[in-house]
Symmetry: C2
Subunit: 370 residues, 2 copies
């Protein structure tokens, strides 16, 4: 039984254009999910996300369980009520952040210290399901073990084994919530580093447990793209074609388009929002850094080919001025532009898949980005 | 000859409800002008100002002449083109900021150091007109001498004399721009500290020179309200009833309403925007500080009696969370609420004047604010 369905509307090679239907509604894929770490996408509001046409926002379990606390979010109607957001919410399990904090890991779970106040906390597969249930996510992710790359083979192997055992436990916890009426979906996560064989083993074990969709984790964590894509392709061969596939944390334009070509449906990445806050802008011609002096008197919009509300109204000179005198609105405007750029990119990918022209879009992106 | 007209629609005692018509269009008074120091109201955009219904924004000559420079603003179509703002812009002369920097003042003008890079700059009455012309303001202010209060009588007297002589020179510079086709309005400024006689002398000398409207400067700079209001009332007795009167820098709720009752039409103040960034919220019941722990789980809007877009959507608990984890969007949301509150207050004053019920509004404000 699943609370989520996946209808493929068009295919171009392995790439698919589809619609994910959940208890909340539906969203189109390939999709890019802006990252709303602490219950908001940094520097903008959910009113902005609506105007941008974003359909899914990702929220971080690690941050929200510590501030303001899952029970506070739950008391305000979950993330949808708390954030005032009627679209979809996907929560990560907290694992990715926790594993970056040198935690104590054992077979049962992981103990870590809060980056806010140093207090000690514990996440288990069952606990991560419970927290995400309290947060009210439409789509939960299982707690996985995510090693940095490169890691020794035995570390990657242990991560695959633990991730599989934890996935089984998460599934059990989630099944109990379903029986009690929950309509949240749960995605498993494939690990295995850059080893295609291990990726396939991890994918098989995850599919055997059975989830509403599948995340591919532990990639784009430092390895070169020509090691990432074969590992990704190996995992995708195993994953069921009639369920959504989510490449976690990948969002550089080339990586995103190549992964779409391999058959990935969902993406999240802090790149557009984080780079925006440093003045780096995505354009049809590649990146520009707005702090550069050459933009001081430039009357052009950030990207002359862009249809966003920021490009419609303000010049590079004005936005550079706001950035330079540290106006908070600069962060919002640059974030709006970069997010629009990524949302427009996946929209173009959807159109290209439907038209059978994805290879032309891949060539265009490859020509402007590395 | 004037480029500005002032049509009084209703009166209640000395208070007036009017419409100021300029070369750009018109705006209603009493009006509150949000402060857009560096070419934007801090933490929000001009798109937000439009949604708030603000009709006039104040921009700071001192800041804009230094960053990005008046010539950059001029090259982008003045502040309207640069900011993407179709409403009215009033610029101060830069004097208020410059006099806070312990400048060298002589009869000809004032020399000061930039707070950005320590470089030396000079403002004269003619120079201030030229800079504001380049900035493209709809309403310019003359360069005045603004002493802090309390100041020795001879300092206040010298400020009145210099302000009058500088006003004469500003008028001359402005007349030459008019002859060349400028449609900008110019307001004189009344000084005189808290001495009613000196305020009346300053008002008379300023009116004799003749301007499109009159600012009352050098008040709300540290003196108690019961010294401010008599000095203000003395100046207003002299100012022509058929021209707009602008009380510079005043924006606490009681001061604003009392000044409206005395016959003031225009206001600006950093209070709503600055306090918002520190978590202090204006409500119908008085101020609250959102950082207070008691709001951590409060599902109410910032002000249950408020009709703003922020109160319509988000709880105190959510906004406090954003503030606490230092999300820039918190600054925007709290700024939007506080500005809405002030804009709604002057709107209520306009309605009350038209209905002849301003005294009831004064009593209500006095009951909740000190």
């Amino acid at each position: 039984m699943t609370v989520l369905s996946f209808g493929v509307d068009a295919q171009d090679g392995n790439a698919r254009c589809a619609r994910v239907i959940t208890a909340r509604g539906s969203f189109r894929t390939p999709c890019f999910m802006p990252v709303g770490t602490r219950g908001t996408v940094r520097a903008i509001g959910v009113d902005d996300l609506e105007r941008l046409g974003a359909e899914v926002v990702l929220a971080n379990t690690y941050h929200l369980m510590l501030r303001p606390g899952a029970e506070v979010v739950a008391a305000h109607g979950g993330l949808h009520g708390f954030m005032g957001w009627a679209g979809h919410v996907l929560t990560d399990s907290g694992g990715f952040q926790v594993f970056s904090l040198q935690p104590d890991v054992d077979d049962d779970g992981v103990t870590f210290r809060s980056t806010y106040d140093g207090s000690t906390h514990r996440l288990t597969p069952e606990g991560a399901v419970a927290v995400q249930h309290a947060l009210g996510a439409d789509i939960q992710m299982v707690l996985d073990v995510c090693p940095s790359l490169p890691s020794p083979p035995e570390v990657v192997r242990l991560a695959v084994d633990r991730t599989a055992r934890w996935a089984e436990r998460a599934k059990g916890a989630h099944r109990r919530l379903w029986s009690a009426g929950s309509t949240q979906a749960l995605f498993g996560i494939v690990q295995g580093g850059t080893d295609p064989a291990l990726r396939q083993e991890s994918a098989k074990r995850t599919v055997e447990i059975g989830f509403d969709g599948y995340g591919i984790g532990g990639l784009s964590v430092g390895e070169p793209r020509d090691e990432m894509l074969p590992a990704l392709a190996a995992a995708l061969e195993i994953l069921p074609p009639d369920q959504p596939r989510y490449l976690m944390g990948v969002g550089d334009p080339v990586g995103l388009i190549e992964a779409i070509a391999l058959g990935v449906d969902m993406f999240d990445c802090v790149l557009p929002t984080r780079l925006a806050r440093h003045g780096t802008i995505f354009t049809g011609e590649g990146r520009i850094n707005l702090r550069n002096q050459r933009f001081a008197k430039d009357p052009q919009p950030l990207d002359p080919s862009c249809a966003c509300s920021v490009c419609a109204r303000w010049s590079r000179a004005y936005l550079r001025h706001l950035l330079r005198v540290q106006e908070p609105s600069a962060l919002r405007f640059l974030t709006l532009h970069n997010l629009h750029w990524f949302l427009a990119l996946v929209q173009r990918a959807r159109c290209a898949i439907a038209a059978g022209t994805l290879s032309a879009l891949r060539a265009e992106i490859a020509a402007h980005w590395d």
